[in-house]
Structure formats: C-alpha cells, structure tokens
Amino acid sequence: MDIVPDRFSDLLAIEPLKAAEIAFLLDQSVPFQEIQRHPLKKLATLRGKTVGLAFFEASTRTRISFGTAASRLGADVMQLQAESSSLKKGESLLDTVRTLDAMKPDCIVMRHASSGAPEFVASRLEIPVINAGDGTHEHPTQALLDALTIRDRLGRLEGWNVTIVGDILHSRVARSDIHLLSKFGCRFTLCGPAMWLPRELENLTTEGVPIRRETNLEESLSGADIVIVLRVQQERLHEPALPLDEYILLYQLTAERLRNARPGALVLHPGPMIRGLEIDPVVADSPQSCVLEQVTNGLAVRMAILFELIGHGSDANPAKDPAHAAS
C-alpha cells in the first residue's frame, strides 16, 4: 500500500491504465469478496449516493451485477433501460444523458452499442462515468474480474499463456483482457475463424508481448494456462453469418480439445454461455471452469470501482487530521 494512485475520475478503458493501478483496483476488490461471505451483505458505505445505470444495449447480467453492487454498498440506483428509453423516440444520446444527469446521480454506469460512447459522455459530464461495455471497444470491469479470478486461482497475473477463442474482431471483452494481461507480461494466442482474426490484432497493445493468431483450435490451446472462451453472436449487422454448425465443428471447446492445454488450465467465459455451442457442458461444469467465481468476483470488482469513484466526500477537510480526527 505504498503507492496510492491519483484519484480515478472515470473508468472508461483498461488500455490507458498502468499495471500498478490495475493491481491496486484488484487489491481493493478483496475486502468486497470477503463481504460476499458475510451473512449480512449490506453496507452503508455509499448511503446517500445514487448510481445511475444507463444501459443503451440490452444486458441483464452486467446491469444486475452493477445494480447489486450499488445496493450492497447502500447506494440508491437510477435505471435507464434501452427498450423503454427515449432514445427510441429520437432523443440524442447527449440529451438522454443530460436528462439523467439533471437528476443528480453521483456517477453513471453506461453500456452502449457505439464504441467511444462512454468517452463521449464522460467528456461532457462532471460526474464519473463507468464503461460497462462500449460497442466492440472495451469492457473494463469484465477484464478486472477475469484478472481477479486468475490471480486468485493461479496466485499471480504475470507471465501466463492465454488463449482466447471466438469472434475476436468484434469482442470488447477480448480487447480489454488483452490490454490488461499484456501489462503483466502474458502471452496471447488468438483463435477463431480467419475473417474475425485480422492481422492488426497482433499489434493491439504497445506492451510488446507476443500475440499470435491461429485458426486451428487444437494448435491454439497447446501450452495454454488460461483459456478464455467468447460468446458467439448469432447475427451481426453488416456481416454474413457463419453457420453455427461450422463454428461448433471447428471451435467448440470440448474436454478432448481442452486436453491440448496445460493440465489444470483455467477456462473463463464472460457469459452468458450457450452450452453446446461455443462450450461443451462437460467443460463448463468441470473444476477448471471459473464461470461462477467470475460472477462473484464481478460483484466484488464493481463494488470496489464504485467505492473508488464515489466512495468519498469532497476533498479531505484540512481542518481535520485524517489519521486522528474521528477516533
């Protein structure tokens, strides 16, 4: 605890963060993991604060996770859901967000189908903005909870061989995971159908870690310590779809294929899983699968982020000595 980074004002992306800042956020998540084990999980830490959830893209799991994180910290939650949003009536994103802002939340958690949308909003609002997923750009809290899961299971983040399987080109989870783990010297093999594996992915980060592309799943799993399986989106605008049977034939993670990886290799999945599509149920339920811990850790990480961004008053009152003021 020697270095306390400068106050985070938003959490928009993993890419600009330093390894020390990420480690700090993971450390700050540990007490919240602990709280999940209490019989009474509710704190009053953020009582009186309001968290605005602006989800312009349908999402049940992440929205519930952030909502629960806020309530367990004692905060109130303000919800905007895409289906009923005025965005459908032609109101611009900016106006929708300004309307939310006028109700004075302490922060906004935002998910949007356009890459760059949270950055667009954050540059125009005073309050902190947390990116809960923007287009195909980043999903910072997902990467953090994946990192926490890996750190807990394997003892450290440094130097692992990570294989990511799926539609990498269109995955914000993949990008955030690659940005985060590359800061800890991990090595990557990206695997999926060739049209979703452009060459530019090899230079995604400036960390200088090896990133290789491989269209053959068995080859890509060889030597892997960690396997991240991505969801398959059935239909994508502006893209001819790949027949699902093709995908299953070539890319489903089965127990037999998983044997190509290191023994005990971790299997992570951002959820929701489609058993029998991208992942064999046997693998999903095996001891190597981390999916349930990912969910619990997601709650802890999101609580830590909320605490970090809004869990303080204004700047410390200089008239009171912080160490001894309120003993």
């Binding site: 306390v4 019989p39 009474l40 830490t45 008053g313 001894h324 003021a325 309120a326």
Partner: protein, 182 residues
C-alpha cells in the same frame, strides 16, 4: 500537516507495562479467557491486540484468538478521510456469534471509529458481548461510547493531537501530545 511536539506521554517501557496491566485487568475482571476474543481495529489497534493476547498467554496459558477489522467501509465520515481511501481486508478467522469480544484501539476520541467497528462486527454475526479496550482515552466524545479498559486518560484540547507510534507500524515506540500548527 505540520505539528509541534508538546510532550511525551508514554515511553516504550510505559507502553509495554500498560499493555501488561490491561491484559491482567481483562483476565481478572472476566474471570478467565474462556470464549474471549480480541478484535484489533486497523491500523494500530491490531498490534496492540496482538500484544495483549501474547500477554494473556503468559498469564493464563491460553491462546486468545485475535481478529483484525478494517472499518473504512463502515465510516460515517468518509469525507474526513484522505481523498483516496485505501481498503484493507478484515480478517476474523472465527465466528463472532455468541463470543465475548474486546475491541482494541489506540486512541478513543469522538467514538465514531468504534461505532463503525461495531457496525462491522454486527454484519458478521451476533456477539454475546462487546467491550472496548484502548491505550489512551482523550475525551471529547460525540457518541455514547465508553471503554471498559483504559490504559491512560489524558485531558486534551481540540487543537491537540495524540500520536501513537508502535514498532510494528512506525519503527519507533512512544505516545506524544502534539499541537496542530496552523
């Protein structure tokens, strides 16, 4: 924040003697160490609790369990803390249900830290009894909270600060009275 030392209240030896005396007092008044556990309030309450438990082992031959409690999440005054409060974990490796707990902290002042500590404890379960042991009681209570076991009572004014230094945390060992310098 600039301060000016006014006087030394306790030396290393005096601290040690006081902790020994507190350990004896607790054991004596309770009639033993059965069902007893100590909870040190971070930061400096933790080494104090550990030392008291150590002293109790010498007295009674029993290992009294010690837990640590981080109260940051339970504070009602987060704005008073540094702009970026750093969380540590609480570690209480035993159940608090039905236990006789003694909260241990270095200085008792307004009482808010102890109120937060109690909120934290009661989130974990239902202790049978909670008592408070402090090294220094400096008065100026803002809540109806009292310590059952007190090392020393010191009259202070609002501009004064009690600084406790413990070897485990500060690499020196003494208690000082200092003045805030504006």
């Amino acid at each position: 924040m600039p301060t000016l030392e006014k006087s030394q209240l306790m030396s290393a030896t005096e601290i040690d003697r006081t902790l020994q005396r507190l350990a004896h007092e607790i054991v004596e008044r309770r009639g033993g160490t059965v069902n007893l556990a100590l909870i040190g309030v971070r930061r400096r309450g933790v080494p104090l609790a550990q030392r008291i438990a150590h002293a109790m082992r010498a007295i009674d031959g029993v290992d009294v369990p010690v837990g640590t409690l981080d109260i940051t999440l339970y504070r009602d005054d987060l704005s008073m803390v540094a702009p970026q409060p750093v969380l540590q974990s609480s570690e209480i490796p035993f159940t608090v249900d039905d236990k006789d707990l003694i909260l241990v902290d270095d200085v008792l002042y307004t009482g808010r830290t102890i109120r937060a500590a109690m909120n934290g404890l009661f989130d974990l379960g239902r202790p049978r009894r909670v008592q408070l042991c402090v090294l220094i009681d400096r008065g100026h209570r803002e809540l109806p909270i009292e310590a059952a076991f007190i090392g020393r009572t010191v009259q202070t004014s609002d501009t004064e600060i009690i600084e406790v230094r413990l070897a485990e945390v500060d690499q020196e060992e003494r208690v000082m009275l200092v003045d805030r310098v504006s």
